[in-house]
Every structure is written in C-alpha cells, then in structure tokens.
C-alpha cells in the first residue's frame, strides 16, 4: 500500500474536518493517563516519544461497563430492549503500536463461533492511526512478543516521524485506505523512498526472553515453586488486568433503576480475583493467589497461543509500571526461560 508525506498542520486539518463532520476523536491525554476524547484539533497528540498511557485504549472497543440490553416490566408484561448500536464514527490519533496490536488479538476470542457484535461494531467504526514509538523504559518488552516500535499490526494508518512536524503516513489496512481517500489533502505528496528500519533497531527495547522457550516450559510445568514465589507477593488487586490492552475477562450483572426497569451489563473482571472461579458449592479451583497468577501467565503465553495462535500480550509493560508490589512480568518470564534453558542442559 502507498505512503505519503504529511505535516503536523495537515493532521490538524484532518482532525478539524472530522470534528466538523461529528466524528469522535480520541488521543492520549497530556498527563498520559488514558485516551481522552478531543473537542478541538489542537488537543491531538501524535508523539512517538511519549510514554504509553497508564490505561490502554482497550475501553474504546471493550468498555469497562457495557449495556447488553434493557428490561422493562410494564403491567406485569416484560420486554427486552437492545441498546443503541455504538454508531459513532471514531478516529484514534497517536496510538502506540503496542495498543494497536491488541485489536486483532482480542478479535479472535470475541469472534470464534459466536460473534460479539458489541466489540465488532466498535472495531468497524474506528480508524486507528498509530505512531512509531521512540519511547522505551525498563518495563517495555514488545520485541519479546514478536512486535516492535514500528509494528503496524492492528493499525489502519501508521505515522513515522521524519523531521520536525513531518511524517510518513503509511496506509496499512483497506479500511484505512478507504478512509484517507475521503480526505484528498492528506494524499497529495506520495512518499516514494524507502524507510530504513534497520537503522532504528539499535534503539528498540532489548529482547528480554524467548517466547518459544517460555511457552514450552509452561506447557510442561504446571506445578512449580515460581508460582508460590510470585503468588506470595501478588495482592490480587487486578490493576494489571485493568490497564492491559489484551485482558478481556468479564462479568455479567443486572442493575435495577427503579422497581420496573433495569439493564444487564458486561463489566470488566479479572482472573486475579478470588471469587472469579468460585463455584456455587463453595469449591474454588483457583483458591490462592499463586494459582491465579499462574493462570494469568499461562493464559497469556501458553493457552491463548494454543487456542487462537496469538500471544495474549503486546509487551506494553503497563502491568509492570502500575503494579503496587513491583511484580515485573517480563522478569517472571525471564526466570521461566532460565528454567527452560536449565532443563535442556
């Protein structure tokens, strides 16, 4: 697909035009806490240097709380009503490659056999414009899960900063192509050169573990002392799941508003909570934190790969940055790789 040269002011013009056409625009907030909705084109952040927001952009596709339907009891007659379809056309400006990559990963679980149209509609209505990432800290590990600061997976359009206020705009998906063709001023100057990715590699986060070895060890070692070591530290607060771009476990609950009506909602949940798997009988298959942490790691780096051929992790490092007891998941995986190497020797 084609690439074009665009300037910051053209990106601003695009945002202004979208706003005038009632599109919703999201971008990383100045305090880098989350993705916020913009009211003016001047708020757009296309900053490859910035730290990933504390919370991923997952909630734009899979909200923290989503109405599944409303129920209404009128004269004893019960009726169910579908919520309004998430119809707003949305553009996300300046997503990180480690955010964008989560969309196709989540799409797998939301679409095997039964299709979750709540998720699908949001994906369908959203254009993801990512930007190559030049930020890296000790928590980042995208290169260990097959991604990189230049990964275009899950993006519709991809920006690579070249010089001050100038970008290469790569068209990544058909959806992105169709979208950008509607804005001819964005595709005036085609970029015909080649971008030298090799030059950039020195600044990528270093690979912390070998995924294949980790997966192999996990597949063979269900019981191991490492889970007790981490489990004893872990508070089970589930912040890791809430900030994660790929964690997707949810609960389904009813909420009443008044005596005769209410709604059923799908809320974010986490396998790190003790009640998550507790049976009605009181029996709990994952009764302590070590088992729950083992589930988290296995689900991400073993089970999901087996089931959907994807790693349930984009290496964004959010879980590590936010952990109140400083558990570093990449360090846990490094340890696992050491165990695997020792087993081979």
């Amino acid at each position: 697909m084609k690439s074009f040269i665009v300037t910051r002011s053209q990106i601003n013009s695009l945002a202004a035009e979208l706003l005038s056409k009632n599109w919703s625009i999201f971008t990383q907030s100045e305090d880098r806490k989350r993705f916020k909705q913009c009211e003016s084109e001047s708020e757009i952040s296309v900053d490859g240097n910035g730290k990933p927001s504390d919370v991923s952009f997952k909630e734009l596709f899979f909200p923290k709380s989503e109405t599944l339907f409303y129920f209404n009891r009128d004269n004893e007659e019960l009726t169910l009503l579908d919520p309004a379809e998430p119809g707003t056309k949305t553009v996300i400006f300046g997503a990180k490659p480690c955010d964008a990559a989560s969309v196709p990963v989540l799409s797998k679980v939301f679409n095997w056999d039964y299709n979750d149209e709540f998720f699908n509609k949001r994906v369908e209505n959203t254009i993801v414009i990512s930007i190559a990432c030049s930020y890296s800290d000790e928590s980042c590990f995208c290169t260990s899960v097959g991604l990189s600061p230049f990964s275009e997976i899950g993006s519709d359009l991809f920006l690579i900063p070249t010089e001050k206020d100038s970008f290469i705009l790569k068209i990544v998906s058909e959806k992105g192509e169709k979208f950008i063709n509607e804005f001819p001023f964005m595709i005036q100057k085609e970029f015909e050169g080649t971008f030298d990715l090799e030059n950039q590699k020195a600044s990528f986060p270093k690979e912390k573990f070998d995924f294949a070895s980790v997966k192999e060890w996990l597949g063979k070692n269900f019981k191991d002392e490492i889970w007790n070591e981490v489990g004893e530290l872990c508070l089970g607060c589930a912040q890791c799941a809430y900030v994660c771009p790929t964690c997707h476990c949810f609960d389904i609950v009813d909420e009443n508003c008044g005596v005769s009506c209410g709604r059923r909602v799908k809320n974010w949940d986490s396998c790190q909570f003790g009640l998550f798997t507790k049976h009605a009988s009181g029996h709990n298959p994952r009764e302590d934190q070590s088992r729950r942490y083992r589930q988290r790691v296995n689900h991400k780096f073993n089970y999901y790969k087996q089931r959907f051929d994807e790693i349930l992790c984009t290496g964004c490092g959010r879980c590590t940055r936010g952990c109140p007891v400083s558990i570093d998941i990449a360090q846990v995986l490094e340890k696992i790789q050491c165990k695997q190497s020792a087993a081979i020797v």
Binding site: L80, D116, E117, C249, I252, D254, R264, T277, H283
Partner: protein, 276 residues
Amino acid sequence: MNIYKPELVEIKEIIDETPDIKTFRLKFKDEKLQNNFSFKAGQFAEYSVFGEGECTFCIASSPTRPEFLECSFKLAGKVTKAMRKLKIGDTMGLRGPYGNSFPLEEMKGKNVVFIAGGIGLAPVRCIIWNVLDLRSEFKDITIIYGARSVSDLVYKYEIQDWQNMPGVKTVVTVDPGGETSDWKGEIGFVPSIVEKVAPKNENTIAIICGPPIMIKYTFPVMEKLGFSEDSIITTLENRMKCGLGKCGRCNIGSVYVCKDGPVFTYHQLKELPDEF
C-alpha cells in the same frame, strides 16, 4: 445479533424436590421458538431473573420430550434465591443451548451405567430419560444414585418408575446417618456402593456426575472394575457467565468448559491441568 440477550420463558410448573432444590418446568413465550428449540442431552443454558442476574444450569429434561424444558436448582446465591420466590406464570430469561453433549450415538448397542450424587442427578436424568425413551437401542441399564439423606434425594417420583422398568437396575443410597427408619435403599457413600454393585465393564459406557469429592473417589473404583478411561464420561460444573467462550471464567488450561465441554471423558480430564 445480540448473543447476550435471552429469550423469554414462562414457568409452567414448580416441583419442590428437597428443602433447598426446586425444579422449574419452562416454556418459551413465543410458540415458534418453543417448536424450533432443540438441544442434546448434556447441554446447558443460561437462565435469568431480570433484575437479579443469570445462572448456569444443565437442561434437566430429555430432548425426547420437547414440549417443555426443565431445570433443577439448589439455593446457593443471589439468583437462585430470587428464583425460589418465583411463581407459576412468572417470566424468566433463557439463553442456549450451549456446550457439547453426551455421546448418545456411541452409547447405542451398549450397556449404560449412570452414577450420580446429589443434584448431580439433574444432567444425568436428562440422558437417563433420553436412553429410556429409546429403550430398545441400548442394552442393560444400571442407575446408581446417592444423596446425603433421604430428604436430599431429587426426582423421587421418577426413581420409582426406573425401578419398575424391565432391564433397568436402580440402586439408591444415602450417606450413613442420612437414612430414615423406613428407608429400604442402601446406606453408604456412592463410591462404595458402586464397588458393591460392580457393574460389568464389557461393552459398557459409564456416565458420572456429582460433587467433586464423589467424582474423585468414584473414578478409581471404576478403574478397578476395569472401565477404560474413554468409557467413563462426566460433566463439569465450572463457574460460567457467558456460556459463549468469551468471559474467560470456566477455562481449565486452554479448554473452555462452556464450549469444549461440559461433557468430558475421564481420559480427557486426565490430560488437563489439575485445576478443577
């Protein structure tokens, strides 16, 4: 399509099984749905009380009796508490059927042993009636059922029918101390009664369901009786929410109990991580 939105069903009959277990007989409010609804023995559904929430139970009635469907539930939490207050004519929600089923075709031409404990008889009752309604296609039938006490036995009104059927051996037991003065059945835990009854393993499929502790101690007895790991079948009752392979709650390893199960052979269970 909104996969999370249930259909409406009406409660047609309520049976008090035990002090804390009831059975609801349900019918879809939309007659067309009722006529088109089909399921297989072993599948489950999500039942709702609007304003309280959803609960997962197996379908306890047989697909051979499609004019209604039944669920049996034990008082355990918020939704089952609300369900106990419902009356005949009240409306509930139902999504399903979900999950795999008992291998009925494979069971044809064979002896079948049914072993159940407590409310674990509900999914087994579904396949028992399925088999009995197609009686000529199966060989000898053995039913072994146990509960904590006489008052905890479910489907008492049907056990009598099974006992009177030719070619069906029905043994009912209660845990020691759970018997009444006029109790004529066995006294003892299910695994030891299975050992005593000692069903033959040749050309036989065994279906087992009950509390985890009963299943745990019954498997070794079955192995001792010579049953192969593939001829022992059970159904898992993991906590679920969506029933659709999305919410991530029922997983054991890479297996989704709601999609790959709830019916598993003992052989399949042995391959799974030890986490159920």
